[in-house]
Assembly symmetry: C2
Homo-oligomer: 155 residues x 2
């Protein structure tokens, strides 16, 4: 399950986590490798699934998706079946960017992104709270996104 990375792999991953448009040659120069070697290593990292994919990141504000909400959800029952149903439902909701199963006062933490407060209200009462597995929820709006990175630190 756990894949070992050498220093060259880590360097490559650090670079492409920040900028996936770098050419193999640019990566090779910065990592002290040949471009063929970079190509082969990236191919391997993709094959074993360390690299899940490459995506374009958008500036959500610039396209009018300005509301970021943090929601805590408590389910009606904590059994496996209820959780499974809820999770399948969550994965299908385009407004939900992230969902974490947690323990404690609530069962799930969600990060939701919508264009405005009306849409949020619609998502909350029309979608989330309408789901039979959901008992209660607590929402708060993010005033600002102080930091957002997809790059995990490789230590």
């Amino acid at each position: 399950m756990n894949i070992a990375l050498d220093a060259a792999d880590k360097k490559i991953l650090e670079l492409i986590q920040q900028d996936a448009t770098l050419t193999h040659q640019e990566i090779a120069d910065r990592a002290g490798l040949s471009s063929t070697s970079v190509w082969r290593r990236i191919r391997n990292l993709e094959e074993v699934g360390v690299i899940r994919g490459r995506v374009a990141l958008l500036d959500a504000k610039k396209i009018g998706m300005q509301v970021n909400a943090l929601i805590s959800v408590r389910l009606t029952h904590q059994g496996l079946e209820t959780g499974k149903k809820f999770e399948e439902f969550i994965v299908e909701q385009p407004e939900v960017m992230e969902c974490y199963a947690v323990v404690g006062n609530y069962d799930y933490a969600l990060i939701v992104r919508v264009s405005n407060v009306e849409r949020f209200e619609k998502f909350l009462s029309g979608t989330l709270l309408s789901h039979p597995a959901v008992a209660t929820s607590t929402s708060s709006f993010a005033l600002r996104q102080v930091k957002y990175t997809t790059a995990v630190a490789l230590d």
Copy 2:
């Protein structure tokens, strides 16, 4: 500030948010455009900053970054100066994937990713709680990442 997108732009963005390795020709085929047109539109979307960049996403579990923590932070003072210092500090911490300024019982919500619980403990007491602006914090570990997407829904 807010940039208007037509149907073709939205289709292109939807596709490259899911997979940035698609060629212009593949995008063109799926969006009903020519590859030149796709190229020009993507270039414009980059210039106006709608596309912030392209990055490689990794499978954090496979490289041993298995601990995902959600942390609520309350500052000692809610003045601008304290907040600014804290935010500058947070941006520099590689363990912090996301940070949101919120209102309510606490001031910031953090998502932190580290390799193991020892590293988390080190980050929490050695880094976060050692910062003079931090008054209190509440942490919970994510049992599971149910959903994680970087793709915002364009409606």
